[in-house]
C-alpha cells in the first residue's frame, strides 16, 4: 500500500517564550540527528542606501565569536561534534542552522543563544570578513559570466522597493562597514522577539522545550523600534527596457513581471502558471524555444515569492547565431498564445503534480523541513500553512490560472533586459 500525498503532513507544535522568541518543534526519529534552525526577520531589505550588503556581512560576523565562544568557535564546536552548519541571508530574512547528532542538541542551542545574547567584536575580524565578502562577491557574481544578471534586472524592475539592490551589496558599501554598524544592527534585529527557532529531528519535546527556556529564556529584548521598510513599489505604468554588456559568449534575455507578495491569494496560481511556462522539458517555453525553434540553450521561469510584492522572472540564453530580440519575440508570442487560447486541463494537472513533487522533494531532510516551517512562520505568519500547501495546489482551477495570466503577464508590467556580449569595438 502506498502512501498518498494527501496524507503527507509535517507534524509540529509551537509556542512563544515570555520574551517573544517563537519556538517550533517537529519530531522525526528516523535517524539520531537533529536540526537547529534559527530565523531572524531581517534581510537586505532592511538595509538603507549606502549600507547595502550589510545584513549579509553581519551574518559572517555572527561566526566570529560571541560572549563565550572564540572567533570561528561556532564552526569548531559544531564540526567537532560531527555536525554541519551555515547561515544565509536573503531579501527578507537571515537564517543560521546546524545539523547535529541528536545527543548534541544542547550544544546547538547554547551556541545560538550565546550569539543572540552578545557578539564578540573585533576590528581585525571585521577587516578580514570584509575581504572575504568582497571575494565572495567577485567569486559568485563579478567574475562569473552572467553573474550580475539578477542585480541588473532587480535594479531596473524596482524603483522604490528595497529589493532593488542585491543581498551581497556593493564593494564600496561593504568596505565602509564599521564595528559601530555591527553593534547597532545586532541591537536592532538580533533579539528574541524578532526570531523563530525550529528544532526538527530526534528529541523529546518536553526536554527540548526545557532546554530552549534554559538557554534563551532570559535574553532581553533591547529598547528601540526595529526599522521595517515600508516603501511599496508604485504600480508600473510602462514597460522598462534596457541592455547591458558583459564578458559572455552568447546573448541572454531576462524579463520580469511584478506579482503580489508570497502570502497573497494569487500566489499559488502564479506558481502553476510559471510551471506551465517552463518547468520541465515538456513545458511550453522549453518546447517552443529550445526544442522546436532551437533558439535558446535553456529557458527558466520562476515566481519569486517575497514578503513585499515579488517578481515572476523569465530567463533564456541564446543558441549561437540567435539574438536576444528573437528570444524576446518568441517569449511574448507564447505569452500571447497562452492569453488567447488558455491552458488545458491536462497541463493544469501536470503542473499540480510537478509542484506537489517538488514540495515533497524539498521535505526530504529534517534541516530543510525546519527551514520550511520557519519560512511559513516568519514570512506568512502561519506555520500551519505548511500542511495546506498541497491542498492549495490541488484547489487551483483553470480560471484562476487564466485570471492571473491576464492580470500579470502584460507588456506594461514587464521589465525586459538584454544581456549582450561586448561588441568588439567596446570590449574592455
Amino acid at each position: 500500500m502506498h502512501n498518498d500525498t494527501h496524507d503527507f503532513s509535517i507534524r509540529f507544535e509551537e509556542f512563544d517564550l515570555a520574551n517573544g522568541l517563537h519556538v517550533i518543534l517537529h519530531r522525526d526519529a528516523q535517524l539520531p540527528i537533529v536540526a537547529v534552525n534559527l530565523w531572524y526577520h531581517v534581510g537586505s531589505k532592511n538595509e538603507r542606501v549606502g549600507k547595502t550588503g550589510f545584513a549579509h556581512l553581519f551574518e559572517h560576523m555572527m561566526f566570529q565569536g560571541s560572549a563565550n565562544v572564540p572567533p570561528n568557535g561556532h564552526f569548531q564546536h559544531v564540526q567537532q561534534a560531527g555536525g554541519t552548519l551555515n547561515g544565509s541571508t536573503s531579501f527578507d530574512r537571515t537564517n543560521y542552522y546546524e545539523t547535529l547528532p541528536a545527543h548534541r542538541l544542547e550544544l546547538g542551542l547554547w551556541l545560538e543563544a550565546d550569539r543572540m545574547r552578545a557578539m564578540r567584536l573585533d576590528q581585525q575580524t571585521l577587516d578580514t570578513q570584509r575581504n572575504v565578502v568582497t571575494e565572495e562577491r567577485r567569486s559568485r557574481y563579478d567574475n562569473q559570466p552572467y553573474g550580475t544578471i539578477y542585480e541588473e534586472l532587480f535594479s531596473r524592475a524596482y524603483k522604490m522597493a528595497p529589493y532593488r539592490w542585491p543581498t551581497i551589496g556593493s564593494i564600496a558599501d561593504i568596505t565602509n562597514a564599521s564595528l559601530d554598524d555591527v553593534r547597532a544592527f545586532h541591537a536592532m534585529y538580533y533579539r528574541p522577539q524578532n526570531a523563530s527557532l525550529c528544532i526538527a529531528g530526534d528529541f523529546e519535546a518536553a526536554e527540548a522545550a526545557r532546554l530552549v527556556e534554559a538557554h534563551f529564556g532570559d535574553i532581553v529584548n533591547p529598547d528601540g523600534e526595529m526599522y521595517r521598510p515600508f516603501m511599496h513599489e508604485p504600480r508600473q505604468q510602462f514597460q522598462v527596457r534596457d541592455f547591458v554588456y558583459d564578458t559572455i559568449p552568447l546573448p541572454a534575455l531576462i524579463s520580469s513581471m511584478h506579482i503580489p507578495a508570497l502570502d497573497a491569494d494569487d500566489f499559488t496560481a502564479i506558481e502553476i502558471l510559471s510551471n506551465i511556462l517552463s518547468s520541465g522539458d515538456s513545458s511550453r517555453l522549453h518546447r517552443r524555444m529550445v526544442y522546436e525553434e532551437r533558439a535558446a540553450q535553456s529557458v527558466m521561469t520562476f515566481a519569486l515569492g517575497l514578503e513585499l510584492p515579488g517578481l515572476l522572472i523569465f530567463r533564456a540564453t541564446a543558441q549561437p547565431g540567435r539574438s536576444a530580440a528573437e528570444l524576446e519575440e518568441l517569449f511574448f508570442d507564447e505569452v500571447t498564445r497562452l492569453l488567447r487560447d488558455g491552458i488545458s486541463a491536462e497541463e493544469l494537472e501536470k503542473a499540480k503534480n510537478r509542484l506537489e513533487a517538488s514540495f515533497l522533494h524539498e521535505a526530504a531532510s529534517v534541516q530543510s523541513r525546519a527551514d520550511m516551517l520557519n519560512a511559513y512562520s516568519v514570512l506568512s505568519k502561519d506555520t500551519a500553512l505548511v500542511n495546506r500547501e498541497i491542498p492549495r495546489i490541488r484547489a487551483v482551477q483553470l480560471d484562476d490560472v487564466h485570471r492571473v495570466a491576464r492580470e500579470y503577464l502584460t507588456e506594461r508590467n514587464a521589465t525586459v533586459l538584454y544581456f549582450l556580449p561586448y561588441p568588439p569595438e567596446a570590449a574592455p
Partner: protein
Amino acid sequence: MTTPAPAFPDRTTPPAPGVPKDVSFPDYFEDVLSNGMKVIVYERNDLPMVTVSLVARGGAFHDGASYGLASMMTELLTKGTPTRTAVQIVEDIESLGGSIGANAGWDSMNAGVTILSRNLEKAMDVLAEVARMPSFPAEELERAREQRLAHILQRKASPNALASIQFSRAVYGSHPYAHPLEGTEESIRALTGDLFAEHHRRLFSPNNTFLLAVGDIAPRAMMDMAERLFGDWQPVASAWPAIAAPHDDARRMVHVVDRPNAVQSAIIVGHIGIERKSPDYITATLMNTLFGGYFGSRLNLNLREARGYTYGAHSRFDARIHAGPFSAGADVRNEVTDAAIEEIILEIERIRSTPVGDEELANVKSYVTGNFPIQIETPLQVAQRIISLELFGLEKTYYNTYNSRVMAVTAADIQAAAQSHLHTDRLKIVAAGRGALLRDTLVRFGAVEVYSPDGDLIPTVETTPDTP
C-alpha cells in the same frame, strides 16, 4: 501557584554531550532476475516518492578518442525509442509529476526516474524502454550536438571551468582523464549515431547494469516489475581493451589560462591522487579533510579566515576506478594569486614534515565519524553510497566498519599518507586569470605557460606595439 524560576545553565562552557546512539548503514534488499540482472531496493516510506536508477558500469573512461561519447550517448537515451518520441517520453513522465534523465560520469552511467509512488508502474515502463531500446534519432542527435557545442562555448567564459579543463590536461597527458567528459568541439562534431548504438549495445546489458530503487516501494513489488520489464533482456559478452593506469609527469608545471578582464584568479593545484580501491583511501581522505576538506581545515583557516584572500579554499581526492586527481583550489583576488599558491605549497610541506597534533586529529575524526548519520539521512544519499559499493566492489559491511577504521588512524598514518600522496615537486599549478599579470608573478614557481580559453599556447614574447 508559582512557577519555579528556571535553572540557567553555566554559560561559559559548552554543554556536555548526551548519550550517543549507534547508527548503522541501513539494510537493503538485493536479488537477481531470471537473466542474472541485479536488483537492489532500499525501502523508505516517509515520503510518497520513489527514485529508480539503472546504473551501467563504465563511463567516459571508455570514450577512447571520442571524448564526450558516454555523456552524449546517455543524454540521448531519453530522446527516442521505437515507440516513443523525445517529446512523448518527457511528456509521459512529467505529466505524472516525475522527472527523467540520464548522465555519465567517469566510471558509470545512470538513467533514472523520480516519481510520486502512485505513478511508479507507468514510469518504469518508460525507464525500461529508454534503457533497453534507445533509437538515437538523427534529428535528436543534431539537436543535442548543437546544445553541447553551445555549452562548450559557454564553458570558455567560466574561470572555474577553464582552470579545471587545463588542470586535467596538465595532470593526465594522454590518459582518458585528460579530456573533459563533456567532450571538445572537435570530438562532438565527429560523433555519429552508429557510435552511440554500438556503445549502448556494449554497456547497457543485464550483465553490466543493475537496478536500484529507493523510497516508497516494497522489494517484492519492485522485483515483479523488474522481472516483467527486464527479465527477457539478453546478456552481452563484451571485452574492453585494457587502459594503462595514469602516471604523474615528474615535472612541476605552471599553466595560466588568460582572462584579460578577470577580477579574480581561479586556482587549482594538484597532481594524480588515488584509486577508489586504494587501501589508503580512508587515511588519505581523512588527511585531506584535515588539510582542505572542511570549513575548519588548514587551507580554509589560512587562506580565508587568517588572510581574507578568498571566500573559500578546498581540496579533495576525486577517487575513481583509476587514480583520479588530488586538487586544492580557491578563487582569490588577482594581486594575491602568487601568495595564495605559496601558502598552499607551504601547507603541503607542513603536513608532510610535521605530525599532526593530537587535538587537531581528534577534532577531524570526531567531525567525520559524527557526521556519518547526517550523510545517510535521505534515500538519495543512501542510494549514492550503495552505488559506490557496487561500482567499486566494496564489502557490503564497508560503511558499518567505516567509523571504527577512521578512529584507528594515527598521526603517523596521516603523515605517511601525506608523504605518499601529496607532492610539491610535481605539482601542476593552474590559474585562470589575467595572463599578463600572472605570467610575471607565478614565474617564482616555475616556467609559466599561458594558454588562451581555446586551449592554445600563447607565445611568451609579448608583441607590444612600438609606439605608445
